[in-house]
Amino acid sequence: MIASILSGNTQEFHSLIRPYERSVFSMALSLLQNEADAEDAAQDAFLKAFRNLKAFRAESKFSTWLISITLNEARSRLRKKKTMKVQSIEEQQEEHNHASPALLRDWREIPSEALERQEVKLILQQAITDLPLIYREIFLLRDVEELSVNESAETLGISVASVKVRLHRARMMLQKKLAPQLKQTSPKRRWLPWL
């Protein structure tokens, strides 16, 4: 399809990007923490993808390419908004913050249907957007967009070892915050002695 678009069937770009609208927007929103900014950034990312389609190399996945454009778009907006001070505090945290999990004696599986509940959705959104930026980025690329460790390292411009360390901490931070909260939201088990 990309070859066809480049040869002049530009209207096909609409269908090309449809499957990625949600993930590009989610990525932008998780990074920018503001719906209007995120929509704007997502639109700009798609426009950039269209303008630079010639630069896309077939050996990489289109989704991965699109995600890295979105990340860069969000990053440049964050740079404009935030001072460098915020960033450097986050960098320091990487050195000192030893991620430890929330301790539990047991865990009852929370099914994906729980996402139908607004309450659960909000808890998850908050936990993701509360992650310090360097952890949010790696979590989004690796666990949400499912880039490989190597692709993530390349996209973020960091080493594979850093990807692993940051990802581990991001996951532990999410577990620490979410495990106790989600446990409370699951409906109380009713006592059904005949089961």
């Binding site: 002049g8 530009t10 209207q11 770009f13 609409h14 990007i17 449809r18 609208e21 949600r22 993930s23 927007f25 989610s26 929103l29 998780s30 719906e35 929509e39 997502a42 639109q43 798609f46 426009l47 269209f50 303008r51 430890s100 999990p101 929330a102 301790l103 539990l104 004696r105 047991d106 865990w107 599986e109 929370i110 994906s112 729980a114 996402l115 659960v120 959705k121 998850l124 959104q125 936990a127 993701i128 979590f139 666990d143 949400v144 499912e146 460790v149 692993k164 990802l167 581990h168 996951r171 532990m172 999410l174 577990q175 979410l178 495990a179 989600l182």
Partner: protein, 84 residues
Amino acid sequence: MVIDCKHVWEHISGYLDGTLAPEQLEQVQKHLEHCEICSAILDSTRNILILTADDRVFELPLGFSERLHARLDDEIKRISPEVT
């Protein structure tokens, strides 16, 4: 060799990604067999990652698609005007 809980926590991410070396994997698995706390931490982490990665967590705003495609349309027409 017996490893303690804190040591297991360091390997949770690697365990989930299946990237632990065989001897590490064996140590972690042995520990998990008798430690309910580490088992619960592992299960909750796995569960939480499935939930947070779900694309229903963030919803598209109403009219998002329409606005996006309208803007794209303008751009596409501007860059490559139809000859027909």
